[in-house]
Assembly symmetry: C3
């Protein structure tokens, strides 16, 4: 399909008389979509049960009349002040037991059924009024679930719901006691009603308890969302979207996405580089005004999976944001580059956040396509250029990638609960593997751990995958190169140790010992690179392919199934990926620093994240440069 | 006038039989003033309404008989334990909602009117007894408002008072909603009674809300103080003083000072270097035993403004303190040097804290002029030397300085609320400008933002001044060199974005984009120096005077009004100050490291903060050396 | 006596059918002791007053039948969930007032008499059933008092008990007010019932108040323990043990140990290196897989004193642990080396923790002698080797050491309360002195501050000893080299300043001034080394033995009593120890890095903590190597 551009707009922030001019200017910029309404509850229902849809009707008229397609948001991320009077106990509590109060957004506990119902009723109201209105081409339910650490709540509502959830999961309290090993420190429970939330314990709580709470908390987000899904499905055939936030891992996006039609996410490359990405100072400095070259691609691939092929960027950074510790501006050209990275990964729509910088409230320093006084920012021209680029390129398609990376939210929870070493972080491990593939110029598909059919993949990576019964059989059946470990398949669903580790009959190696290592300690590997952070001592391996200088196995092989016993540094990751690709005759690239490729069907796209000119494949790309070819012909 | 010396004394800490000897020794040391009583509530009113002034009467007799003038403190900084029984809710709450309890000092919420009245009644009692006693030459009300982060309180009393304050400020809730842009995240309020304090919100609260709370909190300090002012004015003609703490910015000292006759502050150069001053390790190491060469001068100039010309150092560090992370001793001579820095800036009195080191309680490791067992510390001899110096020098006068620096407490609050970059701190910015002037050997006057007559100034600096309607007209009228920016005049009184930025018809430049930068990132400036931390992209400037290497405007000029688009490093500050002085034919100095000058009327004072000997102007100053000239004749 | 080996075992964690095989394998490994039961309350009393001793009877049968001697634990460290229903207020509160809740262990406040009685009743139950059973050779009461920062509790129970404790200590409130100097900030109390716990104060509480709370808190631990001691003494003649945790300083182990027969502790060398030991990165890196070479020895010597000569290692690290930030594996041989360090210091028993790694709960990643699936880890063979070593060596005896180091828990509390410099830590200071002695190859005895007879010691060290009335007389009488200072004898029992400092008629030097110094600042000492962190200015010293480059006294001497005015670096410590030893003709060694010696009666043991081979005294020790000689004959 031909990708489209869009923008986030807040008619309620601006005088009604400028709406029409704004809409015309959007269209003139080449924007096709406009998202509205997702924070407007207090203007849609200023008092309990007094609705005011008039302004929204008129805004829709104006926008649609200009030719824009509309995504209408349900406003449940911002319950109005009066809601607190109805439900004084609707607030989430943090782990210290402090309420997370009104005055910003997301001040609700997902387990509070009163608020959940109120949110669903608001969705019903919107569905009733606009559900059959063809101008509303899609719905966005809530916004950025989990942003501001809002998934885990330690409220009374959460406690009550957790007990019900546990009863449903375990049936009897004896089963729970056994599954959790509560015998360990006399932690046995006499009834489900004795179980509290796993906060404020004297030292760390039982990992099984903690993981159960995280599973439960994720399920509560899904249930909260589903109430609105049900309300809208009954009243509308338009597509349903949620807008996820990058590197929010506290709920299972695959579970939530299963109820929706399209996944979308917020791409803030510079904000994320500063705020949500580990990395050494040199890397952060080199990409200060460009963002990490792989962080967006990773999320694009992730949300393509979450959306089962259908995904958007709902909020694309257009200039400096307000929420990171430091907020520099993108290099000229980066807004276009980011847009093209998204399109090349299959984004149906790239929507800029936001149309005009707000002159008030929390995000008043967040840039838009326009300044508060209506002057275009550099991003405006870049958006226009992307529209022109799209016109030149036409439809963009997606093929299956040669490489699959399994990404699994519960694995992140498991290792957060039981890191064993301060630096063991599942996202970092997965992302390190992903980056190595990108450095090799490969297309990657991200897959959930529930995948059982791997037809067509030539390399499958599942580092750190905590628990996935049956997956090892499917991987073995795939008869292609597979890499698992470290820590893969090493725990049960309850975060206890299974009878054997790794828990797979296809791996002969056994884990005898596990070490976590401080940052200044590395174990050198024969042939180059080193193991850091994490090292397992293996025995019984069928075939050792890579070992440390002292002979400890690092990579073992059973048929096509490879087990990785430690956490590789980048040099070793590059070796591993190239070695595994070579086994499959899968060609890899050697790319200059900062250059990245993406093959979108028959379209080859090259993007230069470096702040300097780069040369590759006979062409020269300026900083933030984008090139694209189809059938050997350079189009951009 | 001829400066005087004094000391802080606590007769209640010592056996009555040693008071007379102490008093005689004070006089013998050359001390003229003694401050007493400011923490003595529990001894003045041991039980509710049972007063015991006998010991104080006798202490006053002994001290006055020895020839000392007395500053008598009201003891409201230390409400006794029984007060808590009367007002269990008088405690401040911190932002987490935890009470700040009895057991140290300052355990009261400024908004608690019960305690405010009790404090005023104690001031009345003291006023009744001593108000017409000429031996009480001045009153100190409370002590160190705001010390230990005590201005902001999240108590019920504060919440109720805040709602009243908001109603008085905005009139209607619609006006508040509009002013604050509450529409942004459905934060609209239906009534003033719905507004809570801006703590414990899920993410940052609305900046307008937060700033309003800070304005309110400052007003509460002023109101608390005024209750005692009224009590004492009705009963005494002696001068009223408050003793401020360095770098306490949470209330507006100009507002509070307007009700008083004299400003005083606590000068702890070494404690502040360690505890309250940013700076690189090399700087802190170089001045470890001397204190920062400009920190005291800045506060001296600040309190000269707060006191409308009349100010003291009420507490001068005499040796190691107890409260900084590390507490080294002053280099020999520094106590004298600090005293002379104060006198040269116009201090009427320099009072050492404290006479004798206490052998008990929180400050038992804080040095005094005497050890706990009554032996003189090195500071004793230095105080004596200062008294001798003064006898030689005679009266010291103050003239208007050539340079004015506008310092504005609400600007600090605004940028604390909305820093946009982790390193944007108003005090640091103002202090950087101040330091550059000191390095150039200039005298500086600090002025409040309410100043409208700048007659006589040749250079006016107002970096980072958030909001000051009408000031730009006055600056333009001054027809002398003026420097504003970065961020100057960029917000409204409610901390929202005005229709244009900078909000001045006298500046043609417009701010297109704002960037905050991490510490390891600098933008090089043509001609030397760089911009750090903060950079604005300007357009439409009349005349660019300084630009970055890539051509971005750093300093623009409209007539004599200069706009600074970024945060200069020290090299650039030096260039700017010298360039602006050159335009006004204002002579500047090139001083050796650590040497500082102050012109006090016809007295020229030079002070060597370096730990090594320094040479300047034909003379040699040892470490901690002080030199002074009048009419070309060296007096010290 | 001939040392023995043991192991910690949890029959309740494993199927009953494997117990016999486990027991046989223990015996086969050379283990003589097995500790059981200390966390099993929920299995011993599954519901209130319903006891189930059947499984424990059977476990004891199996273990004893195999030939193992049993240490039976009282399970008071892990009150079951139902206990919370009986005593909802039994939880400790942290300093912020948050409850420390059920879900891990140690969730009780030592001051809660209801729980204290319940714990004593459980001890009675166990005593009734097993007290006269000769198979139970010893009792362990509770486990790791103070672990997880559990000594200080801010609960209502603690507040009530503290008031009673204060009344007992001070008699009248006036006496308390005077002792504490409450006059300082109007902190006077009208009655004991007005005194709160010293948390949540606006700034630091009165040091006297804070120290009193710490003394009280230590006494509460002792009283809690004594209730179980009394219960068991009445029912059993078996020896009573508590198992202490390393570097837990919040209660006085000497006080607690006085009620018991044997002291034991937990030796986790690698966990402690990472988690509980200051040190530069190079040191931590060099000993990453070995642990600090002196940390275990210090605790061995400490617990030999606490146990009045009788002590064990109850938990010896056998492989990677789970609770430090990073958890690497011991170098091969270290488990044996650690065992020998303990034996050489007089351990009666070294007991490994634990038999088999648990497959569930908080410590599932903590290694044992067996993996969860029953395969031996490297520690198993090393334990076996230690058993063989012991068979070769036979009985090991202990003589008096030439060096005595006084170690005093209240001194740690005093300097925690009143550090005056961020880096002044009593343990660090004592440990630095201890290390210097170890580097000199010396045997050290640790002594409590209550010691008055120093017969036989040739060097006595008491750095930083806060307060010990009468000790100075005893030290002076000892007529051998004594080193006190810095800060020694500088405060009263109430943490106020005594009439003279140091508070000793035997020291002529007086402290005029005290400085604390930041880490990057050192004062060079003539002849080598420097003073860091802390420096006192002395006057009146009889004889200055060592001075700084600028002539300030660092070490003064009055007869054999030396006063140290600052905190030495390691170089200066080495000089000091060698100088003091030379005065006593006490021979010292110069040892290669990482090599340590211990003389156990006629047995000389050498241990190589280095990760490289080392040479000494004509022999070569590999990494983790142990050598032992008796009568000139090498046995190991």
């Amino acid at each position: 399909m031909t990708p489209a551009l869009g923008v986030c707009y807040y008619p309620e922030h601006w005088p009604e008389e400028i709406w029409a001019r704004d809409a015309a200017r959007m269209v003139d910029t080449g924007l096709a979509w406009v998202r509205i309404g997702e924070f407007a509850w207090s203007r849609l229902e200023p008092e309990p049960d007094r609705f005011d849809f008039g302004w929204l009707d008129r805004a829709i008229d104006v926008l649609a009349d200009a030719g824009l397609r509309i995504v209408l948001g349900t406003p449940s991320a911002t319950p109005p002040r009066w809601m607190l009077k109805r439900f004084p106990d609707m607030l989430a509590l943090d782990a210290d037991g402090h309420p997370r109060r009104f005055g910003a957004r997301r001040h609700y506990c997902f387990s509070h059924t009163g608020y959940r119902d109120a949110a669903a009723r608001m969705a019903e109201q919107l569905g009733e009024r606009y559900g059959r209105d063809s101008r509303i081409a899609a719905w966005q339910i809530d916004n950025e679930y989990g942003c501001h650490d809002t998934v885990l709540s330690y409220s009374d509502a959460a406690r009550r719901a957790f007990r019900r959830w546990l009863k449903a999961r375990y049936g009897t309290i004896d089963a729970l006691n056994t599954a959790w090993g509560t015998v360990f420190w006399s932690m046995d429970y006499g009834s489900f009603d004795d179980i509290d939330l796993p906060n404020q314990t004297v030292t760390q709580p039982n990992p099984s308890h903690d993981l159960a709470f995280r599973r439960f908390s994720s399920d509560q987000v899904v249930a909260f969302n589903r109430a609105q899904v049900d309300a809208l499905r009954a009243r509308s055939d338009a597509e349903l979207i949620h807008n996820y936030m990058g590197r929010v891992l506290e709920f299972d996006h695959f579970d939530l996405g299963a109820d929706l039609d399209i996944a979308s996410w917020d791409s803030y490359p510079i904000g994320f580089l500063s705020d949500r990405l580990e990395g050494d100072a040199a890397h952060k400095s080199a990409y200060l005004q460009q963002g990490d070259p792989d962080m967006q691609a990773f999320h694009h691939d992730l949300y393509r999976a979450v959306g089962r092929g259908r995904w958007w960027v709902m909020e694309q950074q257009p200039g400096p944001v307000n929420w990171a510790p430091y907020n520099p501006a993108p290099l000229p050209g980066m807004v276009r580059l980011w847009s093209w990275e998204a399109i090349a990964h299959g984004a149906e729509t790239v929507s800029y956040f936001r149309w005009r910088q707000a002159p008030f409230a929390q995000e008043q320093m967040h840039a838009g396509l326009l300044t508060p006084d209506d002057r275009p920012t550099p991003a405006m021209a870049e958006a226009r250029q992307v529209a022109d680029d799209i016109a030149r390129i036409g439809p963009v398609t997606q093929g299956q990638s040669p490489v699959a990376l399994i990404f699994d939210y519960p694995s992140d929870w498991a290792w957060k609960v039981l890191p064993q070493g301060a630096d063991f972080d599942y996202f970092r491990l997965s992302f390190a593997a992903y980056r190595a593939c990108r450095r090799a110029g490969l297309n990657i598909d991200i897959l959930p751990a529930s995948t059982r059919d791997f037809t067509g993949y030539r390399l499958i990576l599942a580092p750190g995958l905590a628990h996935a019964p049956g997956l090892d059989d499917a991987l073995a059946r795939s008869a292609t190169s597979v890499l698992i470990g470290p820590r893969s398949l090493s725990v049960t669903a309850d975060l206890t140790i299974p009878a054997r580790r790794p828990d797979s009959a296809h791996v002969t190696a056994r884990i005898d010992q596990v070490e976590s290592l401080p940052p200044d300690h590395a174990r050198s590997v024969k042939g180059g690179g080193s193991v850091r952070h994490w090292m397992e001592t293996l025995s019984g391996a069928d075939e050792v392919q890579i070992a440390t200088d002292t002979g400890a196995p690092v990579l073992t092989r059973d048929g096509a199934l490879h087990y990785l016993a430690g956490w590789p540094d980048d040099t070793l990751w590059d070796r591993l990926i190239r070695m595994l690709c070579a086994k499959q005759d899968l060609p890899v690239q050697t790319l200059p620093d900062g250059l990245r490729l993406r093959q979108a069907g028959d379209l080859q796209v090259a993007l230069n994240y470096a702040s300097t000119e780069t040369h590759w494949n006979g062409i020269t790309l300026p900083p933030a440069g984008v090139a694209a070819w189809r059938d050997g012909k350079q189009l951009l």
